[in-house]
């Protein structure tokens, strides 16, 4: 069933992003087009049980600059990131306090771990010092939906509040979930996206899983998506939320419309990464689902923002999925992979990709894949390069291919 045949249409009216390259989507896009990478040795982990590791840290973020009035203590890092991005998105889309109070605005947050640090510290405190030393206020933040709930409290958002966890596809899956709620008329305005903190615990876990660029033998300094020498990814930290609204009510209030979400799709690889052909198939299912809902053919898409992050198997499955569906025409589809400069920000990644796509649509320029020198010969030929390029994008695609088998795709179209 095409989404356009039933229900309501969904538009994006604003976005907020907290990233290692700043909080302004347009300047973020400029930085990416200039090839300014946030990748550097991780400094803020404060632990010596890890080898030197590269990552994209949010070193500059001060919650108080965004969440100016009120008690910040109940909000942990993940909640602060989410609430700050939400504030930016509300402001950008013209939802002031008065309008918020008169409507039911909701939040749909994608996150892989939720508050990883809070959960682990709460538990370790109770084990080491005894349960009576565990802090009740921190317990509230150990539930995976805590950041979305805290964000609702901070901004007074009484609409549907939900969290979606789909590993590294969480952010894009959350946006698809929110779009469906609006289509069905269950919500009029939803902030949707993702947030993920970068903390010692996640770095430690991914390191021991052998998934980081420095976890294995090889070139630790090259978490370069799509490159033949890639050897794993680098973690990043970010939050990105977009304001999704029912098109009719957005138009009625005279909102600026950045794009329409015309379709999304998903796929699942039963082998969870063990069988490359099933991994490719999951990507194809996600792409085909999104195209079908949008009523588009592959040739109608002007550019794609990939989730490729330097992961050996994940990048290959994603590239092959695109190659398979574009069937020989993939070399004509401009693609980019912003995780080359922002790292793998897990639950935030897919939402951040959509922010970058919308900026590429506005600016007519697609950032390059930083550091890309030698496209993996195992991959089909792709239209990717290290340098940014001018591309007119009216219909853009975001792909999110997870570590363990889940794939999502979403299509955003400029309104003519």
């Amino acid at each position: 069933m095409s989404a356009r045949d039933d229900g309501k249409r969904v538009v994006i009216t604003g976005m907020g992003a907290i990233t290692p390259l700043g909080d302004d989507p347009s300047r973020l896009h400029d930085a990416l087009c200039e090839g300014r990478s946030a990748l550097q040795p991780l400094s803020a982990l404060g632990e010596d049980s890890l080898p030197p590791t590269l990552g994209c840290e949010l070193l500059w973020f001060e919650a108080r600059n965004y969440l100016t009035e009120g008690n910040l203590r109940p909000l942990d890092r993940t909640a602060q990131l989410c609430a700050a991005a939400a504030g930016l998105a509300l402001e950008a889309s013209g939802w002031d306090a008065e309008r918020i109070a008169a409507h039911e605005v909701g939040v749909v947050l994608g996150t892989m771990f939720g508050s990883m640090r809070t959960i682990s510290e709460f538990d370790r405190r109770a084990v080491v010092d005894g349960p009576s030393y565990a802090k009740p206020m921190h317990f509230a933040n150990t539930v995976i939906n805590a950041a979305a709930g805290q964000t609702a409290i901070w901004h007074g958002l009484t609409g549907i509040n939900a969290t979606i966890s789909g590993g590294t596809v969480s952010g894009l899956q959350a946006i698809g979930y929110a779009a469906d709620l609006i289509r069905q008329g269950r919500a009029q305005a939803l902030l949707a996206g993702g947030a993920e903190e970068l903390c010692f615990e996640t770095v430690f876990g991914f390191h021991h899983a052998g998934l980081l660029s420095g976890s294995r033998n090889g070139d630790a300094a090259r978490p370069t998506p799509l490159d033949s020498r890639r050897n794993g990814f680098a973690l990043g930290e970010a939050a990105a939320l977009l304001m999704l609204e029912d098109a009719e009510s957005a138009e009625r209030r005279g909102a600026t419309i950045l794009a329409e979400i015309s379709g999304h799709g998903a796929g699942y690889d039963l082998s969870r990464g063990a069988d490359p052909s099933l991994g490719e198939r999951a990507v194809v299912d996600a792409l085909a689902g999104a195209l079908d809902e949008s009523g588009l053919e592959p040739g109608d898409v002007d550019a794609a923002v990939l989730s490729a992050n330097g992961s050996i198997a994940g990048d290959l499955a994603e590239a092959r999925g695109v190659g398979s569906l574009w069937n020989g025409a993939a070399p004509r589809l401009p693609v980019t992979a912003p995780k080359s400069m922002l790292g793998e920000s897990l639950g935030a990644g897919g939402a951040l990709q959509l922010v970058i796509l919308l900026e590429a649509m506005r600016a007519g320029r697609l950032p390059g894949v930083h550091g890309l020198e030698d496209l993996d010969p195992e991959m089909p030929s792709l239209f990717a390069s290290a340098e940014s390029r001018a591309v007119a994008v009216d219909r853009g695609l975001v792909i999110s291919n997870g570590l363990d088998g889940k794939s999502c795709a979403l299509i955003a179209e400029a309104r003519s």
């Binding site: 771990f113 109770a126 084990v127 509040n161 969290t163 969480s170 998903a266 699942y268």
Partner: protein, 406 residues
């Protein structure tokens, strides 16, 4: 008109045992499944009662995956899912695997995995290096591993909405079926018993010392528990075509956020009222048509008082006569599984015209002036039932089920 969606299978894994028939009969008998915690030493927590699933053999339910390769919450979810599919007499091999979806909810996901990870961080000799941590812990593994176990690649979603997660999952399955995204949806919730959850509720002073007594004047709190509840949902036409048993129809739901406090309900129950009201609106039923309410009913002083206030605001004069009970009095609070298990209870109440009691009820509380079906199950013409669930984050979720008339 979107297709009608019905429940055709029920799977239950609870502190009162496994399987729809066993759990339902023990609930109707008013039995209690909570007791002293055994999965860790409760010394030092100040309380020691919990609802654990004992004598649980996951291997009975696994046909594809190795049960030891997955965490306990996933084990509970797969057990409930296999039961639900058997109960629905559904042969997956006859279906297109891309048209079968799995939607799950949880509060803490695979909490035991992060506990083992923490043990390693505390003392690396006490627990192995966490080489599988990032693959086994993130809560998205629960619906994904259920899908791998079943061999299905349709819509797959984890919606961790804390103690309302089961209702969120069933709601998404309803919407997905109506939108034609799948032919069959498996939906529910799962949470394993966790020392993190136990410590947290103990520190909030929310855990009852001996037993859970919802709506009783002397109620002293909830009892943390574990479990899984899973429903099989499909369209009414599909169920009729294959001659499947139909428990009930999912008539509508409502979700609302208090935006007031992370752990305390809104003082006037505004969010709860909005959720109930939206669920009734969508179902097209007036409050007078609801024959049973499955309460969130945790047994904490505040929850039950606020929930009673919300019921009064929606049901007006009928609030004292509509039967409302809390099975948490018998199995404890199974966290993300709770509202899925309670959804199953609503379906069974509609199918059998029997409602389970609120156990351990002794003294009425004037602030909870409801008919909480004290201590004895009751035969009553149900017709339609409402399931209420509330959660950290100010979440309010209500769902209405009704008899599936043809």
């Amino acid at each position: 008109m979107p297709p009608r969606v019905v429940v055709t299978g029920i799977g239950l894994v609870t502190p009162l045992g496994c399987g729809r028939e066993r759990v339902w009969s023990r609930l109707l008998a008013g039995e209690c499944g909570t007791s002293r915690v055994e999965s860790f030493d409760p010394e030092g927590y100040g309380v020691d009662q919990g609802g654990e699933v004992r004598d649980f053999d996951p291997a009975r339910y696994f046909r594809t995956l190795d049960p030891t390769s997955v965490g306990r919450s996933t084990q509970l979810a797969i057990a409930a899912t296999r039961q639900a599919l058997d109960d629905a007499v559904l042969d997956l091999s006859l279906l297109d695997p891309r048209r079968v979806g799995v939607i799950m909810g949880t509060t803490s996901g695979e909490a035991r995995e992060v506990e083992a990870f923490d043990d390693h961080l505390i003392d690396e000799r006490s627990a192995p290096a966490p080489t599988e941590f990032v693959r086994r812990y993130p809560c998205n593994v629960i619906p994904e591993l259920v899908a791998t176990e079943l061999g299905v690649t349709g819509p797959n979603l984890m919606v961790p909405a804390a103690c309302a997660a089961g209702t969120y999952a069933i709601a998404n399955a309803l919407d997905g079926l109506r939108a034609g995204r799948a032919d069959v949806m498996v939906a529910g919730g799962a949470d394993c018993f966790s020392r993190i959850t136990y410590a947290g509720f103990a520190r909030l002073g929310a855990v009852a010392p001996m037993r859970c007594q919802p709506f009783d004047r002397e109620r002293k709190g909830m009892i943390p528990a574990e479990g899984s509840g899973v429903l099989v949902l499909e369209t009414f036409d599909s169920a009729r075509r294959r001659g499947a048993p139909i428990y009930a129809e999912v008539a509508g739901y409502g979700l609302a956020c208090d935006a007031h406090h992370m752990t305390a309900a809104h003082p006037q129950a505004d969010g709860a009222v909005r959720a109930m009201s939206a669920a009734l609106d969508e179902s097209g039923l007036g409050a007078d048509r609801i024959g049973y309410i499955s309460a969130h009913g945790t047994g904490t002083p505040t929850n039950d008082r606020i929930e009673a206030m919300a019921v009064r605001r929606i049901f007006n004069g009928r609030s004292r006569t509509v039967p409302i009970s809390s099975i948490k009095s018998m199995i404890g609070h199974t966290m993300g599984a709770a509202s899925a298990i309670e959804a199953a209870v609503c379906c069974l109440a509609i199918a059998e015209n029997r409602v389970p009691p609120t156990a351990h009820f002794e003294q009425p509380d004037p602030e909870c002036d409801l008919d909480c079906v004290p201590n004895e199950a009751r035969e009553v013409e149900v017709g339609a039932a409402m399931n209420n669930s509330y959660a950290f984050g100010g979440y309010n979720a209500s769902m209405v089920f009704r008899r599936a008339e043809s």
